[in-house]
Structures are given as C-alpha cells and as structure tokens.
C-alpha cells in the first residue's frame, strides 16, 4: 500500500542532494549577480543592478549569446544526421555480439575529454596528419588553415557529442515493436516506406532527446573552443571563464552564468513540454 511518509523518506536523500548541491549554489550565484564589483578579486555585498544593466545593454554579450546558440544548434543538427545511421545500424544488425558495437560507442569515454580534444591539434594542425598527407601527395602547396577555426570547434564538439546522440536514437529504436514493421511490410510497404512511415516517426522522440542533449552540452562547452578555436571562436562559456578567472569579476561572471543557465533551461523546458524528459533519462541510461 502506498505510504506517503515512506515515499518522502525514500526520496529525501536525493532531494537534499539536489537542494544543497544544485539549488543552493544556483541561488548563491543569483544573489552574486546583484553584488558590486570593486576591483579584480574584490566585491562588496552592496546590492546593485549594474551587472544586469551591463548585460542587457551591451551588444558584445548578445552577439556571443546568439553565436553560442547558433553553434550549439548546428552541432546538434549535424550530430542528428551523423548519429542516426550508426544507431540504426546497431539496432538493425543481426550481428550476434551487438554488445560489442555498443561498447565501441562507450570506449571514447574511457579517455580524458581534454586529451581527446587535444588529439585534434595533431590531426588538423599545420604539421598534422591531414596537412602532411595532402602536402606529400602534392595536392596542396601550403598547409590548410583548419585548426583554430569555428569548423575545428564544431568538429571537436561532434567528436565529443556523437555517442550521446547515437545512444539516444538507439534506445528509442530499441523500444519500437518490430511486429509493426513486419505488419507494414505485409501490407505492401517497401523497406524504405516502412522506415519512413513506421521506424522514423517512432524513433523521433529519441532523436529529439539527442538533439536537446547535444545542443545543451555544445552551447555550454568551454574547453573545446578554448583548445581548438581562436579568440573569435569563443562561446558564451568562454566569456564566463574570462570574466570570472581573468577579470576576477565574480558578480558579472555570475550574471553571465545565470543568463546561460536560464537560456539553456528555457530550451530544456520547451522540450519537456512537448517531448517529455523520460526520453532523456532512457537515453542516458543506455
């Protein structure tokens, strides 16, 4: 029988963790946005709207916010296109050791994210594999500028995010009742029609969950643009880093952090409204 007291007791540890390690820090950050910056590393608790005024009136921040959303959306879209096919292949294959394919997806996570990102320097750099090969083949006369560009940043993000997309789509495909596809085929659908009319629509929630995850992670990323991009390829996370770690201006850094949190939260909320969070949970759980 359902016992509300027991239910609260069971959920209490998780709730306490959320309150102390998520809500409370965010609340502290929110309060910091109203503090007064004195000089590098020094702020006063005198309340002011100056930080919000600066954010709302300074086009520099708006430009980077829009750029971050654009790069995040583009990365997520490419992840969606590139990630769907491997997920479909893993789902559809009759290979008896399917677990091995899933394991291959997880293997990159065993290597440090920073090292994986650094590895692109040796691929895209002037002395990197691509340039050296093209030069030796005589296809180019001078090295191509690939590193420290927006393209390199998106490449690095794809490398990092693609497994999340594939896992999400795969989980969604796995939940499809295969007899529906058989039924479609028995009613005269070709393979392509069965895919278009049955498989694709039923896997869309997983695809959408993957898109949201990839977008949020890409838009919130800081290391990849720092290592693979030039200053111009910075994202909003880099602005936050510079403000907090470079200028030691915590009140403004907190303001920018809250802005990014609200924007990404807004997108997550829209998704939850239309798609439901269960897809993400399923995707993360593999």
């Amino acid at each position: 029988m359902y016992n509300p007291r027991l239910a609260w007791m069971l959920v209490a540890p998780a709730l306490l963790l959320l309150v102390f390690f998520l809500l409370l820090p965010i609340a502290v950050m929110a309060v910091y946005t109203f503090f007064t910056f004195i000089t590098a590393g020094v702020e006063a608790s005198t309340l002011t709207l100056a930080n919000w005024h600066e954010f709302l009136t300074d086009g520099y921040y708006h430009g980077f916010l829009l750029k971050t959303i654009r790069v995040g959306a583009l990365t997520a879209a490419i992840c969606g296109v590139l990630g769907y096919f491997p997920a479909y292949f893993i789902w559809a294959t009759t290979f008896k050791h399917k677990w091995l394919l899933l394991l291959l997806l997880i293997v990159p996570f065993w290597i440090s994210f920073t090292i994986r990102t650094f590895s692109w320097i040796h691929i895209l750099g002037e002395q990197g594999v691509i340039n050296v090969t093209l030069l030796k083949l005589g296809l180019i006369n001078a090295p191509l500028q690939m590193l420290y560009t927006e393209g390199a940043v998106i490449m690095g993000l794809l490398h990092f995010l693609l497994p999340y997309m594939i896992l999400n789509v795969y989980v969604s495909l796995e939940s499809i009742d295969r007899t529906l596809i058989s039924a479609a085929r028995s009613m005269g659908c070709t393979s392509a029609q069965a895919f278009r009319e049955v498989t694709l629509p039923l896997s869309l929630p997983g695809l959408a969950a993957g898109l949201l995850l990839c977008f949020v992670l890409a838009a919130g990323s800081y290391v990849t643009p720092q290592l693979l991009g030039s200053g111009r390829d910075a994202l909003f996370g880099n602005l936050i880093y510079d403000t907090i770690m470079g200028q030691l201006n915590w009140p403004m850094g907190a303001t920018l952090s809250i802005v990014l949190f609200v924007i990404l939260g807004f997108f997550a909320a829209i998704y939850t409204r239309y798609m439901g969070m269960s897809q993400i949970v399923k995707g993360l759980g593999g």
Binding site: T39, E126, Q127, R232, L248, N249
Partner: protein
C-alpha cells in the same frame, strides 16, 4: 578513561548482539557515527597532514620540474617534510581557487611578482613572514625586495627569480638582423601573417603594442592607439598561447615563427636544439617571480622551505634548471657561468637595465584594460 571510536563502535555492536540495544537505536547510533566520520574526514585528513607537508602551486612544465628536482626533493630528504604540488596556467586561475577555498588549503604560490602581489593583498589572503626565520633573504637583491615592501612593510613573499618577455623567432625564417631591425614591429608584420603568436595576457599585449608605436608602457599617452595596434597583431596572429607548454609546442612545431615569449622557455627550447632565436628589444618587458606564502599556512614550515630554496646552492641549481636567473645578488653570491649567460641576467645587481611594470600604474588600469583585452581577443 578515553575511548577510541573503534572501541565505542565495538561496544555498541556487542550491546546490539547481546540484545541490550534495540535495532532502531543501533541503526540510529551507527548512522550518527558514520555521518560524524564522513563529515570529519576532509578536516581530519588536513589535520593529520599538518606539520608533515606543505602545499605548493606553480607554473608546471620545465620550471616546476627544476624546482621539484633541485629544491623540493632535497628539502624533503633533509627534513622529512613533503611538498605537495599543484600547477596552474594562469595566475588568476589560482587566485580564484584560493578565494573559494579555506585558509590553509593553498599555501605557497610561485607568483608573478608585484603586479599580482597587489591582488593577493587586496583579497586579504597574504601572510606575514618572520624574516628572522629566513636568513638567506639577506642574499636577495634589494631592488627586487623593495617593491614588495612598499606594498606591505611586512613581507608575505620572497623574490625568487626574474626574466624577460622578449621576442622569440624561428631562425630558419627570420634572421637575427631582421629581428633586431624590426623589434616589436615583428608582431604586426604582415609578412608573417598567420604565423605570429603572442601571450594571451593583457599586460604583455599592451606592453608590446605600446613599444611598437613608440610609447612608454609605464606611461601610455594614447591607449586607443595601443588598442589599435593590439587589434593589428590579433588579426595577423595564428594563436595567442596561454601556457609555457603551449608556447613551446607552437614554436617547436613551426605553427608560429615569431611571438613574444618567456626567456626561460626559449632557453629550454634552444637547449633542446630547436632553431629559435631570442631578442630583448629596447624596453622589453621584465618581470620577477616570488614565492608567496598565503594566510593560514603553517608559517614555520613555509619559512623553513623558503630559506632552503634561497640557499645559494639550491637557488643556483634551480636557476640553471629552469633557465631563469635567481634573485640572489651577484655582488654577494658567486653565480655560475651558465647563469651569467642566461637571457635577462643583470650582473650589476641594480636591475637598472631591465624595465619592470610600474605596479601602481598597472594596478590602476588593470580592471578596465583586462576587460578591453578580453573583448579584443574575441574579435571586438
């Protein structure tokens, strides 16, 4: 009689096993004990470490390797005190960590001289050294100590080494004559567009832009002209590096052919056989580094460590290892031939041949200029 925690838990378990304690009380007391143990662990660990180790944070790479090999390892062998080490790429990064930590979490910092010393003083995290416990301080160059003493009559740091941020260039592409002729102008030379680098640091960028347009970096008369020059370099640069390791990587791999660079790192590259030249143009940016002890540190142990590090034998070995001249006064201590050949070495002990940043002037402009540099570096 005083009972240990283990004994208490054993007695508790015995009472439970003998039926003297109901299950609810047993679980409650066990949970309380576990919570207490869990909460006290971080502090207990630190308390246990007190008196047996000192925490040091530095710039990593060849510099910290030299300090570790020639100072910390012999110090540990001599005293039994362990030096636990951390690294940072940018000193503001460690200041942020210090602000968010408890006093004592960070103890000794390899800091970038007076410009940064002000930040620690403003943040209220400096300590007061008992100079009587650091007799080797008597051998340190007075011109290096004085700027620190102007800010805090009681020192919180001891100067340890110095160097310059000069121009490093690939000698297979740029001749020494060309480097000498163009000087700071090399950093905005369209001929090397896409092959220029620079330190991603406001002071260095403003300093070299000012030199390139003939302004005094310690009394800039037209900051807008300086920013225009900074933008010019930005547009021609391939990458602004942010750590010594990245600088060495970019130069050694030929990704860039000219950059402003730390003298010691260039010396390390030259030792490795890379075709890299180094030039200190007129007014080249000189800086000093110090060993800063933070508030809440075990002072006696830290002072003992600093004294050991300033011992001539140790300081000379470290200097040779990290390729930066030591803060020892060459008129008081006989230095080696290798040190005398290091870039930036001042044999007079007056430091008059080096141009340091005026700490007050730069501190006054630091906030606004850092903000502007951050924007320019991102394309503004």
């Amino acid at each position: 009689m005083k009972l240990s925690t283990t004994k208490r838990l054993e007695r508790l378990h015995d009472r439970y096993a003998n039926g003297d304690l109901n299950r609810r009380s047993f679980l409650t007391l066990t949970a309380a004990a576990a919570t207490t143990a869990g909460l006290s662990l971080p502090w207990a660990g630190r308390a246990l470490a007190a008196g047996t180790e000192v925490r040091f944070d530095g710039w990593g790479g060849v510099v910290q390797e030299a300090i570790d090999k020639y100072a910390f390892q012999p110090y540990t062998a001599k005293t039994g005190l362990k030096v636990v080490q951390g690294t940072f790429g940018d000193e503001n990064e460690i200041i942020t960590k210090i602000k968010t930590s408890k006093p004592g979490d960070f103890q000794v910092i390899h800091s970038s001289g007076v410009n940064y010393y002000i930040k620690y003083v403003n943040a209220g995290v400096t300590s007061e050294l008992n100079e009587a416990n650091i007799p080797n301080l008597a051998n340190v160059l007075q011109p290096m100590i004085e700027p620190f003493r102007k800010l805090t009559p009681k020192l919180s740091a001891v100067p340890y080494d110095y160097g310059t941020t000069g121009l490093a260039y690939n000698t297979t592409v740029i001749s020494p004559e060309e480097a000498k002729e163009k000087g700071a102008g090399l950093l905005a030379d369209p001929k090397y567009a896409g092959k220029i680098g620079g330190y991603a640091d406001m002071t260095t960028r403003v300093w070299y832009a000012a030199l390139a347009i003939g302004q005094d970096p310690n009394a800039i008369s037209d900051i807008e002209a300086v920013w225009a020059k900074v933008r010019e370099t930005r547009d021609l640069a391939k990458k602004f590096w942010s750590s010594g390791a990245e600088l060495m990587d970019l130069l050694s791999k030929g990704e860039i052919v000219v950059t402003d660079a730390w003298s010691g790192r260039v010396a390390a590259l030259q030792d490795q056989g890379h075709p890299i030249g180094y030039l200190d143009p007129a007014g080249s940016y000189a800086w000093m580094e110090d060993m800063l002890v933070l508030k809440g540190s075990p002072m006696a142990e830290c002072e003992e460590l600093l004294n050991f590090m300033l011992d001539p034998a140790t300081a000379i070995a470290v200097a040779e290892g990290q390729s930066y001249p030591p803060s020892l006064d060459p008129t008081k201590v006989k230095l080696t031939e290798k040190i005398e050949k290091l870039p930036a070495f001042d044999p007079t002990g007056t430091m008059s041949s080096l141009t340091f940043a005026d700490p007050i002037y730069w501190a006054d402009n630091e906030d606004a200029w850092t903000k502007q540099w951050d924007r320019i570096s991102k394309g503004a």
